[in-house]
């Protein structure tokens, strides 16, 4: 009995064995998340070609990024903004609307439809790039070309994935297609678990239709899930940017037409071996993601 009481006191105050439980996670978290971010920040202030020891150059990489790197300012940044604004908030709103619609169906059809909307996100990353390469292949036997020729929309086949005009829109479509991921499931679960009496009360208080109900009840009651979904959407959007190089089959993409910030990092890091500069671009990317996440927190944080 005595020892039992001691255990509880231990539970309530400071428990050293907690660190034993946490140690493996913290160790790996530090080694593969914290340390790499720290290295990226340090390298971003250096000139590092992977052979010689990094040379400290202050803010030069960042200054060059903003003032000298025409490709970055004229192509990469605008592309990334267009892509991120459409696929991020666009995919997010689509996820929410679909989750909301699905929550009003019975369990059977809801499960099947949720599976259909979620499964494209299973293909995310580069594993399924081949699918789009086949559909958009550039000669007249390509599926999209052949369809459009038969419908009379175009007369000549379009080399979709090498054409600077079409590559970015295609990357955006693919991004939207695979955007119903973990965040979508979280929001669906959030709506399904909301308190039904709230809806009845709202109907009595004069809520007139499903839309008003969504604005006044659904969204406020599931803010925490909305925030989780938003963070997941932002991360996935930037993480999946690598698809553009896969589709084009080359880095840089033709005329930098679909060059996104992720591809720019790879271009400088693994093709030109200007690691210091690539690190500066990485830090910029992490900064952009952090900025977007902070904005979502402001929007959805419960006071």
């Amino acid at each position: 009995m005595k020892s039992g009481r001691k255990e509880i006191r231990r539970l309530e105050k400071s428990n050293r064995s907690a660190y034993v439980f946490l140690a493996p996670y913290i160790l790996l978290f530090t080694a593969f998340i914290v340390v790499p971010i720290a290295i990226a920040i340090i390298l971003s202030f250096t000139n590092f070609n992977t052979i010689q020891f990094p040379k400290f150059i202050g803010f030069l990489n960042y200054i060059n990024l903003i003032t000298q790197d025409e490709v970055f300012m004229q192509k990469v940044l605008p592309n990334t903004v267009v892509y991120a604004v459409i696929v991020g908030p666009g995919g997010y709103m689509l996820s929410f609307l679909l989750a909301w619609a699905l929550s009003q169906l019975t369990k059977g059809p809801r499960t099947v439809l949720a599976l259909i909307f979620y499964s494209p996100s299973l293909t995310s990353g580069v594993a399924m790039a081949v699918l789009w390469k086949i559909l958009f292949s550039g000669d007249q036997t390509g599926y999209i070309n052949s369809l459009l020729i038969r419908l009379g929309v175009i007369t000549e086949p379009i080399i979709w994935l090498s054409d600077a005009r079409f590559l970015l829109p295609i990357v955006i479509i693919v991004g939207l297609w695979s955007s119903m991921g973990v965040g979508f499931l979280a929001m669906l679960a959030g709506i399904l678990n909301s308190d039904e009496s709230l809806y009845e009360a709202a109907a009595i208080d004069g809520v007139k239709n499903r839309f008003q109900e969504m604005i006044y009840i659904t969204i406020p009651t599931m803010k925490p899930q909305m925030l989780f979904g938003a963070v997941m959407a932002i991360v996935n959007t930037f993480q999946n940017g690598a698809i553009s190089v896969q589709l084009a089959g080359a880095n840089p993409t033709p005329n930098y037409s679909a060059q996104l910030i992720v591809n720019h990092i790879e271009d400088y890091g693994f093709i030109r071996y200007e690691m210091g500069y690539a690190a500066a671009v990485s830090v910029a990317l992490l900064g952009i993601v952090y900025l977007f996440s902070t904005i979502s927190k402001k929007l959805f944080k419960e006071d």
Partner: protein, 290 residues
């Protein structure tokens, strides 16, 4: 017009009001599904259908030719396909098991044990939810190189184990386990580890399943580690091999093989999700960031 009665979330029966919803989302569902149907059809198309003009969307007389060619091309490259399959299975199993185990240990500590830096650690992990791994591929390479892990299985496995999302979801789920249960166990003289194995683990199976599937999705299709940290062909994974095959085959004949390769990567993901989906929905109910 009758007064609006309030829509039913999670209705038990079919009602007429649901028809509108079906009409609105069915076209989108079909659009979402088409590419997946296409890859299924394409993988089973025989040579003459792959070359057919105009190209046909659906397969007419399905065959396993593409899959057979896929295995043949693997043999021709010197490393048997079974080697890549073996590597991928080992790596994926290790990541799934270790990541879920380590996240549940940490989740237990963050949820039920009291110690000084608890909130700080949880906040840091929440911040790490927005971590984008591709941004640090270069520094990660330097870390792996520094630890002497290049060209080992550990280079595939270790970077994927600590998953902030997984820890976050498991911790939120453990929050639901009643404290009374845990206190009773301590009264009986149980130690922390006993509480973890006897009380926590059996009660958080849905969250463990979710952590496992998230880890699987990362590890199974990961090509970054094979691309950057591994030079030895025999240690690379199936995902890498399938991807290189898909990229190398730009000919029409190669497309069928590439489609077959993508399908092989996609199916385990899909099947696992279907099996575990009710667990996942259960876990996601507690996913809010407060």
């Amino acid at each position: 017009m009758a007064r609006y009665k309030g829509s039913r979330i999670n209705p038990q029966r079919f009602e007429r009001g649901q028809i509108k919803i079906f009409l609105a989302i069915l076209p989108l569902a079909i659009f979402m599904l088409l590419p997946i149907i296409f890859i299924f059809c394409h993988a089973f198309k025989p040579m003459d259908e792959l070359f057919a003009y105009p190209p046909r969307f659906f397969v007419k007389s399905p065959t396993f030719d593409n899959f057979r060619d896929l295995f043949k091309s693997a043999r021709a490259s010197g490393i048997p396909m079974s080697r890549y399959v073996y590597n991928s299975i080992i790596v994926t199993l290790a990541v799934v098991f270790l990541s879920t185990f380590i996240s549940s240990l940490a989740g237990f500590a963050l949820s039920k044990l009291k110690f000084k830096t608890k909130n700080a650690i949880f906040e840091i992990n929440n911040m790490a939810l927005m971590f984008v791994p591709v941004a640090v591929m270069i520094p990660r390479y330097l870390v792996i190189n520094g630890l002497g892990l290049t060209n080992t299985f550990l280079a595939h496995i270790l970077p994927l184990i600590s998953m902030p999302v997984s820890l976050f979801l498991i911790k939120q789920f453990i929050d639901q386990v009643p404290n009374a249960l845990i206190e009773a166990a301590y009264m009986d003289g149980a130690r922390d580890f006993t509480v973890y194995t006897r009380i926590i683990l059996p009660m958080i199976k849905p969250a463990l399943a979710t952590g496992a599937i998230l880890a699987f999705q990362q590890a199974w299709v990961n090509i970054e580690s094979s691309n950057i940290y591994i030079n030895n062909e025999g240690l690379k994974t199936l995902a890498f091999y399938m991807n290189s095959l898909a990229n190398a085959n730009n000919s029409v004949a190669g497309q069928g093989v590439a489609a077959a390769a993508s399908l092989i990567m996609f199916i385990p993901n899909l099947v696992l999700f279907i099996i575990l989906q009710s667990n996942i929905m259960n876990t996601m109910a507690h996913s809010g960031i407060k």
